[in-house]
């Protein structure tokens, strides 16, 4: 028994020493892939961060073409910069966050209840890049976003492409778009 405890202590010390050495050598970067332990911890904390009354709440806004369109427009304007129009998180911002913006078409997001999605939108997720939008949006706005998130797994590439016209455009992107238009119309666009 004593021997087993001694071995366990040695293992713990070695692992801790290796962890500290690794930390000192490599530093800490948000570009690293989050570990499985961190992801599990983050998901658990996120679950407990949702108010109990919301965990099983159903969306009070019925699905309709108009509500979905409002959710789509809202998503393109406020969420797509990190999550992408298709919700897969494959954006420069989404890939650079720690943890990464999730692929919301996957079961990890889709199996969350409507209320959990709503709470995440309104309250954000601490220690991640997800802001809490509760002070900015109405509850109706956020329930429509939940409708749109539910629609993501069935979204076509054409639909995602059409949302580009609704995305916020920075001055640099405006210059790029102008450059593209000039080039495609036969102008001598600069390199």
């Amino acid at each position: 028994m004593r021997r087993a405890v001694a071995v366990l202590v040695i293992v713990v010390v070695i692992v801790a020493a290796a962890a500290i050495a690794n930390l000192l050598i490599r530093g800490v970067s948000a570009r690293d892939q989050p570990t499985i332990a961190e992801m599990m911890l983050a998901r658990t904390l996120r679950h407990f961060a949702v108010p109990m009354k919301l965990r099983s709440a159903a969306n009070p806004v019925p699905m309709s073409a108009a509500a979905l369109q409002e959710g789509r427009e809202h998503f393109a304007d406020h969420c797509a910069q990190c999550h992408g129009n298709d919700g897969r998180g494959e954006t420069e911002m989404g890939r650079s966050l720690y943890p990464r913006a999730p692929d919301m078409t996957l079961p990890e997001t889709q199996k969350l209840s409507d209320g959990e999605l709503f709470a995440i939108i309104r309250n954000g997720v601490r220690l991640t890049g997800m802001p809490g939008w509760g002070g900015e949006h109405t509850e109706q706005d956020d329930w429509k976003l939940v409708l749109f998130i539910r629609h993501l797994p069935r979204m076509t590439k054409e639909e995602a492409q059409s949302m580009k016209a609704l995305n916020p455009v920075s001055p640099m992107e405006m210059r790029e778009q102008q450059e593209e238009r000039e080039f495609l119309s036969g102008g001598d666009s600069h390199k």
Binding site: V11, V15, A18, R31, D32, E92, E158, L184, G186, K191
Partner: protein, 96 residues
């Protein structure tokens, strides 16, 4: 026990760096279209072979275009997929 310790070390130290690649654009003129690729003479003066897939979209302005619109000499801007392996969108110019 040795195996356990070794596994713990591997688990601890195997934290891979994650380098991301942004969307890459190719500006140029169509040189040749094959069954699964587009040869573009880029505005930098080099030739680039770009893979086309079933998922590749073709646009002319805001309207949808067709793969068959990629005739030699026409100007294109290709938005590559995030992994840089194939074309995500081919924007086709209005003239040569």
């Amino acid at each position: 026990m040795k195996k356990t310790i070794a596994s713990l070390f591997v688990l601890l130290l195997a934290t891979a760096a994650f380098a991301h690649a942004g969307h890459h654009h190719v500006y140029g003129t169509v040189k040749q279209l094959t069954a699964d690729a587009l040869l573009v003479h880029t505005r930098e003066g080099t030739d680039a072979t770009i893979s086309l897939t079933k998922a590749t979209l073709y646009k002319r302005g805001d309207a949808d275009a067709k793969r068959a619109d990629l005739v030699p000499g026409v100007r294109v801007i290709v938005d590559m997929t995030t992994d840089g392996k194939s074309a995500e969108i081919v924007k086709i110019g209005v003239g040569k």
